[in-house]
């Protein structure tokens, strides 16, 4: 695996994706205990998960367009929440 | 530095402050204890204040008491010779006539004060100084704060008129702050201590006469105020920055509300700031009529009632 720093985002931008990351994790773990008999909560979860995923993808699209990070076929970007650094990771 | 020694002559000595005396059984201070207490006060160069019960003391006590310069704090039931007379509720005020130079303490619960505060006008005709002490300030609610604010405004109007008529009555809640430029609190444990009939010292009478108190030494073993610094203003993290200079900063109420002697509860702070703000308005109103206390600074306008809400965050 090759890992290379390709950029950095602002703290506010990092906070935005970190909150979405945390929310998605929370929704994922909530899914393990949700049962179908709680229909209201289940519907709320489905809606929320869809919105969170969409915002999540939207963040990466916006940031990639804004900062024009280096990319590579088969690679992916990583963010370090401590430093706001963006890395390109190649398998 | 300790400057005053309060001597409770009996377990049932009258309360002249916020606390209620829970002790109902008479227990006169032994004469030898009284003598030893006075001796302690003389050696330590303390001003002595005797607090009387509502019954006549044996003659032998009078002779000992008169052997030292002092102040007598007495209940309304036995007012003869009082320097400070304590009345509990409006009812005890009805038949009272003050002698010259006698100060008056009026203790009453909020229910008796709200809506009737204007009755102090009649009392201020009879005494040069009146201290009003609300005995349940720690129970104030938001509605009570509003009622208290209204009552202070009402009394401030009365005082303004009195000053315009050339009189200079003193009412602790409203006129003290106009005169003060630094904190002037009760000073329990700092500038004054109390000697109880059991021969022990206490921070103030409440620490003996109300539940949950503790001693700070005894005549036999000497005065030992542990953590004495906590009774001083410089070790009160909220109060040392505060400018509600007239606040009693009641150590006993502090402890009751927050468990710490150096930290006031919300209710005491807000009540003191309502008094401070009403004093500000009174000062401004009197000054509209002409020069008044020209050497005193204006009381500045503030936007909080509890200094805890604007404390420095670390």
């Amino acid at each position: 695996m090759v890992k290379k720093k390709v950029g950095q985002v602002a703290v506010d931008e990092k906070n935005e994706i970190q909150a979405l990351f945390e929310r998605r994790n929370g929704l994922n773990e909530l899914a393990k205990i949700l049962t179908a008999d709680n229909a209201d909560l289940y519907e709320k979860w489905v809606k929320d998960m869809g919105e969170t995923q969409s915002k999540f993808q939207g963040w990466w699209d916006r940031m990639a367009a804004k900062y024009q990070w280096e990319s590579h076929e088969g690679g992916n970007w990583e963010i370090n929440f401590d430093t706001c650094d963006i890395y390109l990771v190649l398998p | 530095m300790i400057q005053y020694l309060v001597i409770l002559l009996d377990d049932t000595s009258v309360s002249f402050c916020h606390y209620g005396n829970a002790k109902k059984e008479r227990r006169l201070m032994p004469l030898e204890t009284l003598k030893a207490g006075i001796l302690f006060g003389m050696k330590e160069n303390l001003n002595i204040q005797f607090v009387y019960p509502a019954y006549a003391l044996p003659e032998a006590y009078d002779a000992v008491i008169e052997g030292i310069d002092h102040v007598k704090i007495m209940p309304a039931a036995t007012p003869e010779g009082a320097d400070v007379l304590v009345m509990n509720g409006w009812k005890e005020c009805e038949s009272w006539t003050a002698g010259a130079g006698v100060s008056c303490v009026l203790r009453l619960p909020k229910a008796e004060w709200f809506g009737q505060a204007g009755r102090v006008a009649a009392l201020l005709e009879k005494t040069e100084r009146l201290n009003v002490v609300l005995t349940d300030v720690e129970t104030f609610t938001e509605d009570d704060f509003k009622a208290y604010e209204r009552s202070l405004a009402e009394v401030a109007n009365l005082l303004e008129k009195a000053y315009m008529n050339g009189k200079t009555p003193q009412l602790n809640l409203l006129t003290d702050r106009m005169m003060l430029e630094q904190m002037n609190n009760c000073g329990a444990g700092d500038t004054n201590i109390t000697l109880a009939p059991d021969g022990k010292f206490y921070v103030c009478p409440a620490f003996y006469q109300a539940a949950g108190g503790y001693a700070i030494g005894s005549l036999a073993e000497g005065l030992e105020i542990k953590n004495a610094q906590l009774y001083r203003l410089d070790h009160a993290p909220l109060c040392r920055h505060c400018d509600a200079y007239q606040c009693r900063r009641c150590i006993w109420l502090n402890r009751k509300a927050t468990l710490e002697v150096n930290t006031p509860g919300h209710e005491q702070c807000v009540a003191a700031h309502l008094e401070r703000n009403a004093s500000r308005q009174l000062l401004l109103a009197i000054r509209k009529h002409g020069t008044f206390l020209p050497d005193k600074r204006e009381i500045r306008e503030i936007d909080y009632l509890d200094p805890f809400d604007v404390r420095k965050e670390w």
């Binding site: 970190q18 945390e22 929704l27 205990i33 990466w60 | 070790h235 927050t258 710490e260 919300h266």
Partner: protein, 404 residues
């Protein structure tokens, strides 16, 4: 093409509300230095109490505006009550989500365990279910002889090292950044160096270690402590451990004088935290519950039925360093980094106050400062000679400064 890697061991440090459930006062162990003087097997938190506490806390969102929350579970040994904990966590997740509570975006479940039950099916199922939100620390004190000196089973008094160390690989596999908390008492001093190195050898990269705040120290302990720390410093530097391992005894922020105006903050977070016990009473921190106190009455700030009495919290939120410190601490030339526990201050005070700082660790702190100075002087010289100082300062791991 995106992926998120979460890093940073001090999760939301300083921004999180810490809420502790004292789920049980029972423990398999009877550690000799344990400050919990009132442990027992009877006081277990009923589910109804836990639920009512959660409802109260979540109902009062406007009064707890911290961005994040750490739901902390403590005992005794918390994993003795894994069924209750599982139910609490499920309810918390569901309720934070259902109420649109802001903490659903930022929460952790935190445990400090003796590690004995770590491998059991129930605990493992719980870990699988909540892994992304867990912070679990296993307490292991070092070498077997050091660990078993204090951390012994109640009853037969045998050491617990073997039962804990067998679970370390599983724990590190699940939480590779897991840190351990080591407590040092007078009898432990000769084993500090070997113990820290042993923990590194087990694969634990973060060793948070502190001397007990209680007045247990004997004449000469400071010299022994200093000697052990210097030997440890040599071993860490000469062995190159500083690159990947952290030990909280050594800190760059230690041993300078402090100013009473600009550096006046309280050390301890008591009062900003909240603890609830089996009776449903609230405390400013677990150390103020009766089972933690030797000499003083519990400092109860409310309960799940009547709520929190904010007046009882005011002294905590007004605490600053200098108001609670004796003159010797205010004037101290090496004050920086000298810690205190508000609960121990309260317990040891001459009157029932949190405004009297205990100074039992004074000589130990000064010894630590001397060894710490030695460590950094030696390390920086080495790095300068290797032209590696800048890189090291950027990358070397830093321990969690909160040792409570």
């Amino acid at each position: 093409m995106e992926k998120i890697k979460e890093t940073g061991r001090g999760w939301q440090s300083g921004m999180a509300k810490n809420i502790t459930f004292i789920v049980t006062k029972d423990c398999q162990l009877a550690c000799k230095y344990c400050y919990l003087v009132g442990k027992n097997s009877k006081e277990r938190m009923p589910w109804e109490v836990a639920k009512q506490a959660i409802d109260y806390i979540l109902d009062h969102e406007s009064e707890m505006r911290e961005e994040s929350v750490i739901w902390d579970f403590i005992g005794g040994e918390p994993f003795l009550e894994i069924d209750l904990i599982d139910r609490i966590c499920d309810y918390l997740k569901t309720e934070m989500f259902r109420r649109n509570h802001h903490w659903f975006n930022s929460y952790r479940f935190s445990f400090s365990t003796n590690g004995i039950n770590y491998h059991t099916d129930k605990v493992q199922r719980f870990i699988q279910k909540n892994h992304d939100h867990l912070s679990i620390g296993i307490t292991i004190d070092g070498t077997e002889r050091k660990h078993d000196l204090n951390r012994i089973y109640k009853g037969d008094g045998r050491g617990s090292y073997a039962d804990v160390v067998r679970n370390i690989p599983l724990w590190l596999e699940q939480f590779p950044h897991g840190g351990t908390k080591v407590t040092i008492s007078s009898e432990d001093l000769p084993y500090i160096k070997e113990s820290v190195l042993h923990l590194y050898g087990l694969g634990i990269h973060e060793v948070n270690i502190n001397c007990v705040f209680e007045d247990v120290w004997k004449p000469g302990d400071d010299a022994l402590f200093e000697e052990q720390l210097m030997q440890l410093a040599d071993a860490i530097i000469d062995g190159g451990y500083y690159r990947d391992y952290a030990c909280s005894f050594f800190s760059e922020h230690l041993g300078k004088p402090l100013d009473c105006v600009t550096q006046n903050q309280n050390w301890c977070g008591a009062g900003k935290m909240l603890a609830v016990d089996a009776e449903g009473n609230f405390y400013p921190c677990t150390r103020f519950a009766q089972y933690s106190l030797r000499e003083k009455k519990a400092w109860i700030i409310g309960n799940i039925r009547d709520g929190i009495d904010k007046n009882k919290l005011r002294p905590f939120l007004l605490l600053d360093r200098c108001t609670q410190s004796p003159q010797q601490c205010i004037d101290c030339e090496v004050a920086e980094g000298c810690a205190w526990c508000q609960g121990e201050n309260y317990d040891a005070a001459d009157t029932p106050t949190i405004y009297q700082r205990a100074t039992a660790i004074c000589r130990m702190h000064k010894a630590r400062v001397r060894a710490n100075n030695y460590y950094w002087n030696k390390l920086f010289r080495k790095l300068e000679l290797e032209d590696a100082r800048e890189a090291c300062e950027e990358n070397h791991p830093k321990p969690n400064p909160l040792n409570c």
